[in-house]
């Protein structure tokens, strides 16, 4: 038998019709996650063609992108301020009712960012094919699922047929050796990877992250890594499931129970790349050599170690345009640069361990004068747990705002925005021009780095604060 990669195994198990020269494969989709922004036009296509949702039982909907994070708006005490967002919320409620799709709506205690609740509810499982009209669907690959973002036309295809037409992508192995040093997080690792291979380095490929540094990561950390695969151009990133994965999934709402659980784990254990399996490309990274990372430009590949300087390549007008937008100069030191906003949130870094890490840095300290700090848990469940563990109080005592879950300031389409010209140290995934609001200047970093910046009001090496701690959280 030929040695196969993890990706090949999952792909081949889902071929309804294999690809030919003339036609793409018909690929079966096990789980379709739906949200309010990229689904209305797809439901409209179903309606106009008289079609039903083929498998409502394989479809889960929630609302996260355009929803407010202010509790009064979320729980209906005041109207949603962004009127068009309110219409989207109503539309998704109506569509889910009409087509029989389960919805974790605005008032639900299971609502949250779609890529946070899928895993949290145990809907995300090894070996599944998972899609969503959102590029950060790559997150679910942390469980050994093949998970990728699709457009709205394809959302319609999956709703109607539970299938997609897909050409088989290439494979890229990223072997991460060594171990991350204290204060260096999964976020720093993925930023370093994107810096190394570039924002289109993974285009046309599915990434498999492997090696000792990956195996040592918690599920929360693995999700942070896989989440940003798309920032390297790869639609999907995967990590082989192991004991860490099974421990995380056991007993969750949609996880198999009893004898089904044992059978599932037995099946999941086969989901590893075989020894000798060939990847189209392989890249090696030494985790031990990494520092906390921070972006300085307008795409995630424009990233340096926090002690670094802003690069100044000659004759690069695009780089110059980017620095002009950021208000930075080539050769400038980043550490010590004043900032205005700190955002802890998003599908990249708003799970419980992210909040724990930020809280460890913040605890007993105050947010610097003039800095706005917004902490937005990834889901209502994360919110409840963070409140139960006293993390929310750590943030509010420090002077930070503590909100209801949602995409919030990561995408600036829900009322939470960074003002023009302001610098935001953000734990999110994109530093594109205007991403956090027109004219906003985003510096992507880990929750530890973001929290450190909140305290000092400047770009700060988080190890300054973390050295006082015995260990970084690995939950």
């Amino acid at each position: 038998m030929t040695a196969k990669t993890l990706f090949e195994k999952v792909w081949e198990q889902h071929e309804v019709v294999p690809e030919t020269v003339d036609t793409p494969a018909v690929l079966y989709i096990d789980l379709h996650l739906v949200h309010e922004v990229t689904s209305p036009q797809a439901f409209a296509v179903l309606r106009s063609n008289g079609l039903k949702v083929r498998r409502p039982d394989r479809t889960l909907a929630t609302m996260d992108h355009s929803t407010p994070t202010d509790p009064d708006e979320v729980f209906g005490r005041v109207p949603i301020k962004v009127e068009s967002a309110a219409r989207q919320v109503n539309e998704l409620e109506k569509n889910c009712r009409e087509f029989g799709v389960e919805l974790f709506g605005l008032g639900s205690d299971r609502r949250g960012i779609v890529h946070v609740i899928g895993p949290e509810l145990g809907a995300t499982q090894p070996g599944k094919t998972i899609v969503c009209g959102d590029s950060h669907t790559a997150t679910h690959g942390a469980f050994g699922a093949l998970a990728f973002g699709i457009g709205t036309t394809e959302v319609g295809h999956v709703l109607a047929t539970q299938c997609l037409l897909q050409r088989r992508p290439k494979t890229l192995a990223i072997n991460v050796h060594g171990e991350l040093q204290q204060g260096v997080t999964a976020k720093d690792l993925i930023l370093a990877i994107i810096g190394k291979i570039g924002v289109s380095g993974g285009t046309g490929h599915v990434i498999e992250y492997r090696g000792p540094a990956i195996e040592a990561l918690s599920m929360d950390e693995r999700m942070t890594v896989c989440n940003m695969s798309i920032e390297a151009g790869a639609r999907a990133g995967m990590i082989a499931p192991d004991e860490t994965t099974y421990r995380y999934l056991k007993g969750r709402h949609f996880s198999p129970q009893g004898a089904d659980w044992d059978r599932a784990v037995e099946r999941w254990r086969t989901l590893r790349s075989d020894p000798g399996a060939k990847f189209d490309r392989e890249i090696d990274i030494d985790a031990s050599a990494l520092e906390p990372m921070i972006t300085y430009g307008t795409h995630p590949g424009m990233v340096v170690p926090i002690s670094g300087i802003v690069p100044s390549p000659a004759n690069d007008p695009v780089h110059a345009k980017s620095l002009a937008y950021m208000g930075l100069t080539g050769g400038e030191q980043l550490e010590g640069k004043p900032i205005n906003v700190v955002f802890i949130g998003s599908c990249t870094n708003a799970r419980l361990s992210d909040l724990e890490l930020a809280a460890r840095v913040i605890k007993g300290r105050k947010v610097a004068r003039g800095v706005r700090m917004l902490v937005v848990p990834g889901s209502q469940q994360v919110k409840r747990e963070a409140e139960a563990r006293g993390l929310a109080k750590v943030f509010t005592d420090a002077g930070a705002e503590w909100r209801e879950s949602g995409c919030s300031m990561c995408i600036g389409m829900n009322g939470d925005v960074v003002a023009k010209g302001e610098y935001a140290v953000s734990t999110s995934n994109r530093n594109f021009e205007g991403r956090q609001g027109p004219g906003a200047r985003t510096l992507l970093a880990s929750p530890a780095t973001a929290a450190a910046a909140a305290i000092t009001g400047k770009i700060t090496d988080p190890r300054t604060f973390l050295s006082e701690l015995k260990s970084v959280v690995h939950s």
């Binding site: 309804v16 019709v17 020269v21 003339d22 036609t23 018909v26 079966y28 922004v37 990229t38 209305p40 036009q41 409209a44 296509v45 063609n49 079609l51 083929r54 992108h65 355009s66 962004v82 068009s84 967002a85 219409r87 989207q88 539309e91 009209g133 959102d134 590029s135 669907t137 973002g149 699709i150 457009g151 709205t152 036309t153 394809e154 319609g156 295809h157 109607a160 047929t161 539970q162 299938c163 037409l165 050409r167 924002v199 289109s200 285009t203 151009g233 639609r235 795409h299 695009v318 345009k321 995408i411 600036g412 389409m413 994109r430 594109f432 021009e433 205007g434 991403r435 027109p438 004219g439």
Partner: protein, 191 residues
């Protein structure tokens, strides 16, 4: 969808690499439930100032760029979010094709499904196009070629099935629905 065989137009040029979908259509305009009218918002933060007036220096606002149906852009066009609003906005604006040396995966897929041609060509002809905004270019989907006004003809790759659908105006959903029996058999075998 209308069949597409050839397209001839002058080009508008945005000579930047890594133009992401947040530039093509900023997220704050995604709170819509239809596809209509997005062209007005295409490249909104590059086209308009804070007061909503057109920025005269932006390439697409120049008189010579009006009416161009082909956009030439730098490498890795359409990276970032999966929003299909990006090709919807470009089509509604009036573009029918994008030419680059590399186009992001999800954007390319979304474009093909809406009749916006994502065309990847080699660096040399691409450099020529970047340096010659307004050039009259002819795209032939049947022969998979782009003809420059210099007479140079360059080939571009396009996935065979997507090309077949575009040439014949076929909706992929119809094709998938025809696979119903195979899907049912798959579901029974994997229940």
């Amino acid at each position: 969808m209308e069949p597409i065989r050839t397209l001839e137009s002058r080009t508008a040029v945005l000579p930047f690499t890594n133009i992401d979908t947040d530039q093509i259509i900023p997220a704050r305009f995604l709170t819509t439930t239809t596809k209509e009218g997005l062209g007005q918002r295409a490249f909104a933060d590059w086209r308009y100032d804070a007061a909503g007036a057109l920025k005269p220096d932006f390439a697409l606002n120049k008189p010579e760029a009006q009416g161009c149906a082909i956009l030439v852009a730098g490498r890795n066009f359409g990276c970032g979010s999966s929003r299909e609003h990006a090709p919807w906005a470009l089509l509604d604006y009036g573009f029918r094709a994008v030419i680059s040396t590399e186009i992001a995966d999800i954007f390319r897929n979304n474009s093909l499904k809406n009749g916006l041609l994502p065309i990847v060509i080699d660096e040399e002809p691409h450099r020529w196009l970047l340096q010659n905004p307004g050039a009259n270019v002819r795209i032939d989907l049947e022969s998979r070629t782009v003809k420059l006004p210099t007479g140079v003809i360059v080939e571009f790759p396009v996935e065979r099935f997507a090309r077949y659908c575009l040439l014949n105006g076929i909706d992929e959903l119809g094709f998938l629905l025809q696979k119903n029996d195979a899907v049912t058999r798959y579901e029974q075998a994997h229940a």
